[in-house]
């Protein structure tokens, strides 16, 4: 199998679902892994407040206990990214992308600010609407080709996957995670709680990079 990311260095099989590690997907995988480890090991940032009219500042230390739920959601998002970046099955990919959407909502859901919760709700609506073209695209791929395995789909000389399926998949991933496309996701960043909130941004970057490779390979 030759994908646009190179030849697979390693194939991990779970029955029908084969995870393939080409140089491209391996680098995405390592990036997700490193950031998940950073989230597990780091302590939350201290909130800084500048004293008005002088150079002084005071910090408020936040313990890990307060942000436990957010940390758990960040780790779950990281694990979902790990799965999404290496899987070789189209439907498995859509499931991981939907999981990324849900965990992104979960990361900011515990914040008390009304503005952030509003933004999280709007993002959640769009993420849920984004799962529709995702599942539709995967189903059309299965219906026209009889297989969902990317390795088998790339082995054919002429691509049998219709353009509409690829377009629906891209539309779905854009709905799940592309921050520039709508402001609600950007507004979610006003939530305090780095480094957990940064996982939102990293996850959307990773799934976008992966979906480009999937579309070109199929």
């Amino acid at each position: 199998m030759s994908s646009v990311g190179g030849t697979p260095l390693f194939l991990l099989e779970f029955g029908d679902i084969v995870m393939y590690f080409t140089p491209y997907t391996t680098s995405l995988f390592i990036l997700a892994l490193v950031f998940t480890c950073i989230v597990i090991l780091s302590r939350p940032e201290n909130q800084l407040d500048i004293i008005f009219g002088s150079d002084g500042y005071y910090t408020k230390e936040t313990e890990v206990e307060e942000l436990r739920f957010r940390r758990f959601m960040s780790i779950a998002c990281g694990l979902a990214c790990l799965g999404a970046t290496v899987t070789g099955d189209v439907f498995d990919f859509t499931l991981f992308v939907s999981l990324v959407g849900i965990t992104n909502v979960g990361i900011v859901a515990a914040v008390r600010s009304r503005h952030v919760q509003n933004a999280a709700f709007q993002y959640g609506i769009v993420a849920l609407a984004g799962t529709v073209p995702l599942f539709g695209g995967a189903a059309i791929v299965a219906a026209t080709n009889g297989t969902l395995s990317m390795i088998e789909l790339s082995a054919r000389t002429m691509s049998g996957v219709p353009l509409i399926a690829k377009a629906l998949l891209t539309l779905g991933v854009m709905g799940e995670g592309m921050a520039p496309f709508y402001a609600a996701k950007a507004e979610m960043f006003r939530a305090p709680g780095a480094p957990y909130v940064i996982m939102c941004s990293l996850s959307s970057l990773l799934i976008f990079l992966r979906v480009v490779e999937v579309i070109i390979t199929m």
């Binding site: 919760q117 999280a120 959640g124 849920l128 799962t131 529709v132 599942f135 189903a139 299965a142 969902l148």
Partner: protein
């Protein structure tokens, strides 16, 4: 003219377009939430048109994802609007609150569900437990049930690994999987039932 699949696809996609147009012009948040439930249906419809066993295997995770998002979004909506503390209006129906009928019905459903076992059995038994909690309220601490459900879910996953890597022990894996998923679904559905029953004294 066209074949069955094309007509079905056209119908389901038209459905989706109608729902998305309504979602785009809607301004109220709760209406949007209800419309999200509507757009799940065309997405499952496209998968169901596949008409093979694979379609069933694909619909189940799709449903799980849909219900998980709906749960999360409804919770955020309640927190956002500040509605968490509102008491829910209840009807006072004597035959549900004081007579023996709900107990007998729930018992029957639970026993039938355990006999069926597997996912369907879990659903039926869970429905019985939900009905009991809804009618009578609950006073016990549910943490033991939750712990048992977690362990049984782990048993279910281990059974599937046995299916994949040690197929000679398939009978053990079948029992493990059926019993595990039964207990897990009962616990989850009883948790939903406690949302509606009268809360702890």
């Amino acid at each position: 003219m066209w074949e069955e699949y094309s007509i079905g696809l056209l119908g389901v996609l038209l459905c989706g377009v109608i729902a998305f147009v309504a979602l785009a012009i809607e301004k109220d948040d709760l209406h949007r939430l209800l419309l999200i439930d509507l757009v799940e249906i065309p997405s499952l419809g496209i998968v169901a048109l596949l008409a093979t066993d694979l379609a069933e295997a694909l619909i189940l995770p799709g449903l799980v994802v849909g219900i998980a998002e709906l749960l999360a979004l409804s919770q955020i909506y309640l927190v956002k609007e500040g509605l968490k503390e509102q008491p829910e209006g209840r009807l006072h129906i004597e035959v549900i609150e004081y007579a023996d009928a709900p107990l007998i019905l729930s018992l029957f459903l639970v026993v039938y569900g355990i006999i069926l076992s597997g996912f369907t059995g879990g659903g039926v038994a869970g429905l019985g437990v939900v009905f009991y909690f809804m009618s009578r309220g609950y006073k016990e601490d549910l943490s033991l049930l939750e712990a048992a459900a977690g362990i049984s879910w782990a048993i279910w996953i281990v059974s599937f690994f046995v299916f994949m890597f040690l197929p000679q022990y398939w009978l053990l894996a079948v029992f493990g999987a059926g019993g595990g998923i039964l207990l897990k679904v009962i616990a989850k559905m009883s948790l939903v039932g406690t949302m509606w029953g009268r809360s702890h004294e």
